[in-house]
Symmetry: C2
Subunit: 288 residues, 2 copies
């Protein structure tokens, strides 16, 4: 039986892959990281669409029965329904999963008109994909989307717990908010949900929380879509009788478009994979 | 008569192009920025070589009589002599130009055993290109190379004069130095030359100086190769009788591999072009 394809612009999607490996321990993951062209979050929507279609078709040639677009920017600009029709396998993106994660948090709070702040790349924010999906699901929502272009490079260089990070998070959020429409409710007494809308952001969750503590005294929580996409995929594969019944753990392969022998690439890949406790053996090799 | 090709991984090379436009005001510049795959500084040497060869041949199809590889990372990993033989036109990279800029500073100080600190991308530092070129030219040199992966994204998001920058520069340099061999002389009483070995770094020169002021009290200066490469090119084209005699100013074209209609891309391009006072009219268009 085919594996589950997971695509990301670089290594960040291995955080999502780790969630998949734990929720679907009988499934074999086939990961493709386009680190020869990373990052996507600062590139145009048309370029990201071209790259994502190339990657989806590459993965389709590698025996997959379902595809997860783990990159939030790609998920935001690619039409998932059209891609699913084209590939003829189930396709999941991160937007639906992120909204689902917010819904679970809202239900647990019993709040019908929540405050949600989307933290994401410039490309994801510009696409309006999260904003539209959230307002469709929660019509009474107050929301704000803040582009955080500095977060990805900070995580990639291993600064996620650097002592300067809380100040950097504060500066990035303050600037991002100033560039968008001001959100009067940010300092209100309501609980605010911060949606970490990029695969890299959960890695720096502690620093984001410390930065938010500098910004406002009201209660808040941080959610991300990695676990939700794993549950959504499991549910759909179950309905389609596509779940592997053979007991794992499995051997997973991460293919990289840039040199997989560089120590830096391997270290970064393993940092993402291990942070959420990826299960099974992960082999890293060249996509070419 | 053909124009002068200028290649960079993104927009940063427009800083070098601006220097060329002032030193060679009769020449038409044909710029190619590979912003669909930027940055190069964190990618493998083999990938950067592939991209650079593709770009050089693309520019050769666009009527150029000489080529400047304005990207320091590409200059560091590509064999310029082999590329020149292959293209059959003069080819200049930034390594020779950066060394030339150091030489001028050293001569002005009358110092025979200078301290030089190279600030560059991880790819440039790893290549050892600057280190080898400097030691060949100044055998009594004490040198240190520090990879600064955070500088490019900070400049790209317009943070070059942000109030946090001096602290960020200090943190990056301290960390970069700790990861490499320690350099005991850094805190000595000697004058130190900082070579800004990436097209983006001159944009944040003031912040680099403020960061260095936090690190050591001894005298230092910052140099970069943009002006030197313009002088080296002018001298060589003069010897080859390839200089355009028709009086400018010229119309220059910057071709971009990603969407040239995005406001962000155009703004970033013009920031680099104007910072050094680019002369003539610059049109930005798609490379495809």
């Amino acid at each position: 039986m085919g594996g589950i394809g997971v695509f990301d612009s670089g290594m960040g999607g291995l955080d999502v892959a780790a969630a998949l490996s734990k929720t679907l321990p009988n499934e074999r993951l086939v990961y493709l990281g386009d680190n020869a062209r990373v990052p996507y979050g600062t590139k145009s929507a048309s370029m990201v669409r071209t790259y994502t279609h190339e990657a989806a078709h590459w993965l389709l040639q590698h025996n997959i029965k379902a595809l997860v677009i783990a990159c939030n920017t790609a998920s935001a600009v690619v039409d998932m329904t059209a891609l699913e029709r084209e590939l003829e396998i189930p396709v999941f993106g991160m937007i639906e999963a992120g909204v689902q994660a917010c819904a679970e948090q809202i239900i647990s709070q019993g709040d019908v008109d929540p405050n949600i702040v989307i933290l994401a790349t410039p490309g994801t924010v510009r696409s309006n994909a999260y904003q539209e999906a959230l307002i469709n699901r929660f019509p009474k929502l107050s929301q704000l989307a803040i582009a955080c272009p500095i977060f990805v490079p900070l995580v990639e260089m291993g600064w996620e717990n650097h002592s300067l990070m809380p100040q950097l998070v504060e500066a990035q959020l303050t600037e991002g908010q100033r560039k968008q429409q001001p959100w009067a409710n940010l300092a209100s007494t309501k609980h605010t949900i911060y949606l970490l809308g990029c695969t890299h952001y959960p890695m720096m969750r502690d620093s984001i929380i410390m930065g938010l503590n500098r910004l406002h005294q009201t209660p808040f929580s941080c959610v991300d879509g990695a676990q939700s996409v794993a549950f959504l995929l499991k549910s759909r594969l179950g309905k389609l009788a596509l779940l592997n019944q053979k007991v794992g753990p499995n051997r997973h392969t991460a293919y990289l478009t840039d040199d997989p022998n560089s120590t830096t690439a391997v270290e970064l890949a393993l940092r993402f994979w291990r942070k959420r406790g990826g299960l099974g053996e992960l082999t890293i090799q060249s996509a070419s």
